[in-house]
């Protein structure tokens, strides 16, 4: 499979703060020629709002190995605790095939939903547009 899915978890961000962060950091990362898999070729962007922030999924036409994907997610600003846990899963737990998780919904032992994703198509379109501009300019 020559596609990879970059999954980013942004906690405690409002949409304007997220856009400001993306403008400040992503230009370099989306223009960079990464060793092993080259410049990121974006196929689609999906953004979902959560209780504390946003989940962003970016489908790219690059085959990105696990450790590089983990590094890229950290560089793109995903929650550092999540990416540290992911690194531990990748290295230490060979049996854990699916290490890159973003929950659609979370609940506790008493079935109380504590967080649920809702689609934010407008923000997804805006971020996809920004990435396009970064890669063209």
């Amino acid at each position: 499979m020559n596609f990879s899915e970059i999954k980013l978890d942004f906690d405690n961000y409002l949409s304007q703060q997220l856009i400001r962060f993306i403008r400040s950091r992503w230009r370099f990362l989306f223009r960079f020629r990464w060793p092993g898999f080259g410049r990121l070729r974006v196929k689609g962007v999906d953004v979902r709002k959560t209780r504390h922030g946003y989940h962003i999924r970016i489908l790219v036409k690059n085959r990105i190995p696990s450790r590089e994907l983990n590094f890229l997610q950290l560089a793109l600003g995903s929650d550092y605790r999540r990416e540290c846990m992911n690194l531990r899963r990748i290295i230490a737990i060979k049996r854990m095939k699916s290490w890159n998780i973003l929950f659609r919904c979370k609940f506790n032992g008493r079935w109380k939903v504590t967080s649920r994703e809702t689609s934010d198509a407008r923000l997804a379109k805006k971020i996809a547009g920004l990435i396009k501009v970064f890669q063209m300019s």
Binding site: A92, I93, S98, L102, F103, C105, F107, G109, W111, T114
Partner: protein, 111 residues
Amino acid sequence: MSPHRLTFRERLNRILRRMINAEEKGDVELRGYLNYTSSDRESRDIEIDCVIVVPNERREIIAGSEQIKQKVKRRLGANLASMLKFGVSEANPSSDNHFLFRRHGDELVEF
């Protein structure tokens, strides 16, 4: 136009809604997890990661989480079982069931 006749936009919306609903069907990964780290007591550094693949239906998800809870309770005790959190994420071709546990920096073991 009769009041029951759908406009193109309504028809499109209906199709899209069906497509989205269809996408929601299929399997999901249900994960029961606990990442508990105590900085001063290594023995209380605990990680539990249990996954079962279930159909994306409320009833199945609830039954699955009960199954995980019972398994953790039998192996690790009621206290840890009561601390479990659960999450649902999309399944992929490599999704598989597993029940893993580690305490104070040891390797994860299957139970």
